[in-house]
């Protein structure tokens, strides 16, 4: 197996180093061996064993103990250059060396292994920590997955790590680190159509590929593939831990997406419902007049004079225009909100626009006097005049509806900067309480007992904002509401600028 190469090489290196040290120390002691006590070389020969264990593990340690034992007996226990042991106390020295050194190698080797294991675990824990940190940081699934496979490749020193997720019933590689999986590998992992149903969450080896099925809440969410890594049996637990984390991450992101989609759908449904209610309400007022008129006209038992019939027909005509206007407003509002309709800018006189809107109000004015306060020297505006006409109509109708009979309604306009005109429509109604200043422009934000058009202000806001301008409501001096909006001043032509500058001097 691939991943057993590394420990083997470590043992060889450790053994070589230990044997070299043994040889060097033995050579150093040989000239003075007659002056040394029998125990001294035994102590000195502990050194290569420890070096061997540290560098190469337990196997290297055992080999160096063997080598040390032979060298000790052959060169340092009289009679020299034989393996025979003379005096009984020499037996003791040799025995103690062997008996002590084997457990020492064992302990040191275990300590080393434990340290390495602890280091690796520390690394894994750090990576897992980073991973959970990523999960909390609410990254997109793509970023999350590529980070996960990269850190896994690092932790397990793997040549290839790949994550396969199901998409439309088929598994595809969602993220990978190291070399990409070859087609042959993919075929081995996902034979045939590759459904997730048959997956087993226990890791399985398939021709050198470690394959893990990811499952969250007993639901298969993907497949993790590792190749060419140092994944010994011991490391499968942390591997599963990583796998669980990934599975949770994938599931969490998928759940969040689902929840987001659901709430967006809910919001859309709520808005649609509000719009339908508002539209139904606003359509019903003209419909009521039309129905009342037409049902009178159509009644065969009624003897209606031609004068009466003409009046009813005129009423139907006017109400039909009202309906058509409302439908046009709604269409344009939804087109603007969908980004289909852009204002068609033109240069025009605000004063002319306001007078024509006031004239067109006709019977809808209901006895109110509309006072227009627009200075003659006001520069022309740059706006979609058809849309602004409807904004003014809506604001005026709103003012008429909410103010007592025969109180004046004031349309005022003035410069509010070099390139901006502020227009206001002021009434003498009950005004708008401060906490409703912003919500009044929202769809269907009307007083519960108010029969007025709930859409008017929403439409006005949509049209003004399509121009990149502002609309808001203030308290009028002396009670009442003051609806204000801004418009852009038409940029003067270059020769006019020159003329204006010139005339200043």
């Amino acid at each position: 197996m691939d991943w057993e190469e590394a420990p083997m090489r470590r043992s060889v290196i450790g053994t070589t180093v230990a044997l070299a040290t043994t040889a060097a120390l033995a050579a150093a002691m040989l000239p003075v061996r007659s002056h040394l006590s029998v125990a001294t070389p035994a102590l000195v020969l502990v050194v290569p064993v420890v070096i061997g264990v540290v560098a190469g593990g337990f196997i290297a340690g055992i080999i160096s103990v063997g080598a040390g034992f032979l060298v000790y007996d052959f060169f340092f226990i009289p009679p020299y250059h034989t393996l025979s042991v003379g005096a009984p106390e020499n037996w003791v020295a040799l025995g103690v060396y062997a008996v002590v050194m084997i457990p020492v190698s064992w302990v040191v080797a275990n300590m080393n292994a434990a340290k390495a294991y602890a280091r690796r675990q520390g690394h894994e824990i750090r990576e897992l920590f980073e991973l959970s940190h990523l999960l909390v940081k609410d990254k997109s699934l793509d970023v999350l997955l590529s980070t996960v496979v990269t850190s896994m490749a690092e932790v397990f020193a793997a040549r290839q790590v790949a994550l396969l997720l199901p998409d439309a019933g088929r598994l595809h590689v969602a993220a990978f680190a190291g070399e990409p999986l070859t087609d042959a590998q993919l075929r081995r992992i996902v034979p045939g159509t590759g459904g997730l149903v048959t997956l087993d969450t226990r890791p399985s080896d398939r021709d050198g590929l470690l394959v893990l099925a990811l499952a969250a809440a007993a639901r298969p969410v993907g497949l993790l593939v590792i190749a060419g890594g140092a994944t010994t049996h011991l490391e499968r637990e942390p591997l599963l831990l990583f796998a669980n984390h990934i599975a949770l991450a994938i599931e969490r992101v998928q759940l969040r997406d689902d929840a987001l989609r659901a709430s967006v759908g809910e919001e859309a449904a709520r808005l649609a419902k509000t719009l339908v209610t508002a539209v139904a309400h606003d359509l019903r007022a003209p419909l009521t007049s039309i129905k009342a008129s037409s049902s009178t006209l159509a009644d065969p038992e009624l003897d209606i004079s031609s004068e009466t019939a003409r009046r009813l027909a005129t009423l139907i005509d006017v109400q039909t225009d009202r309906l058509a206007e409302l439908v046009q407003n709604l269409l344009d509002m939804s087109r603007i909100q969908a980004g289909v309709l852009q204002p068609r800018y033109a240069v025009g006189s605000l004063s002319d626009l306001v007078s024509s809107v006031v004239d067109d109000l006709g019977s809808r004015r209901r006895g109110h006097v509309v006072r227009v306060e627009i200075p003659d020297e006001l520069p022309p505006v740059d706006a979609d005049l058809a849309l602004i006409r409807r904004v003014l109509t809506n604001l005026l109708e709103n003012a008429i509806r909410h103010s007592p009979k025969s109180t004046p309604i004031i349309v005022h306009a003035a410069l509010c900067g070099e390139d901006c005109i502020e227009v206001s429509v002021t009434d003498h109604g009950p005004g708008v309480s401060p906490h409703r200043h912003s919500e009044i422009f929202q769809l269907f934000a009307r007083r519960t007992d108010d029969a007025g058009a709930g859409l008017g202000l929403t439409i006005a806001k949509t049209f003004i904002e399509a121009h990149g301008q502002r609309i808001w409501v203030d308290d009028a001096a002396g009670g009442g509401a003051k609806f204000c909006f801004t418009l852009a001043v038409a940029a003067p032509l270059p020769e006019e600028v020159a003329f204006a500058t010139h005339s200043h001097h």
Partner: protein, 226 residues
């Protein structure tokens, strides 16, 4: 000529009604706000009031309650919202009938005629109510259909008698439960369904033309053509 007062904030609808109801032989007065309507009703007491619930100044419900403090004139409420709660509230506040916008002029005329016919008599409660083929004798606790005495259980008679005392008026389910079963009742809507079914069978009125009902509002006793 009966004198009708319509309180509605849509001047166009008022114009149509003025023209249309004149053709049906009614004299019409109009008011565009609740306060104007109250003043008009006080100065020239009408025979019937048609009241829109969505007025710009006062809540239509409030107008209804104020009129009821000094007059028993029949009130027909107009509701543009189609919401059952508002209708029921108005009926509880003393309105007699309701109509949902948009409506035909013939329907308005029919409602006005029902209201005019069942206008409360000045001499107080009558002892006998006649509705089409049905005769309810409130004094002797007896109901007759086409001259034949009906065999009604006590609660069945009380239900019918309550509707008869309010003939022409739409009685909400709460009103019926409180008046027939007692003050503690109000939510036992299934009682009404069961009793209305039993009474209709005895009145030979399976289609509900005499004992009329709006499933989400209430019941009314009226002559089949009303």
């Amino acid at each position: 000529m009966p004198h009708i007062l319509i309180i509605d904030d849509d001047p166009d609808l008022l114009s149509v009604c003025r023209v249309g109801l004149a053709a049906f032989g009614h004299e019409l007065h109009t008011a565009e706000t609740g306060s104007d309507g109250l003043t008009e009703a006080a100065i020239r007491p009408p025979d019937v009031i048609v009241l829109d619930l969505g007025l710009p100044d006062l809540d239509g419900l409030e107008v209804c309650k104020r009129i009821r403090t000094w007059s028993q004139v029949p009130i027909i409420v107009l509701s543009a919202e189609g919401s059952e709660d508002r209708k029921v509230d108005a009926l509880d506040a003393g309105a007699d009938d309701y109509m949902t916008k948009p409506f035909g002029m013939r329907e308005l005329n029919a409602r006005l005629n029902v209201a005019l016919r069942h206008r409360p008599a000045d001499e107080g409660d009558s002892v006998e109510v006649v509705v089409g083929p049905l005769r309810v004798d409130l004094m002797h606790h007896e109901a007759m259909l086409d001259g034949h005495s009906l065999d009604l259980a006590p609660k069945e008679f009380e239900f019918l008698a309550y509707l008869a005392r309010n003939v022409g008026k739409v009685c909400t389910r709460r009103m019926i439960l409180e008046n027939v079963w007692g003050p503690g009742y109000g939510k036992e809507l299934h009682y009404l369904k069961v009793y209305a079914y039993r009474i209709r069978r005895k009145l030979d009125d399976e289609k509900g033309q005499l004992l009329q009902s709006d499933p989400s509002v209430g019941y009314r006793l009226a002559a089949p053509n009303d």
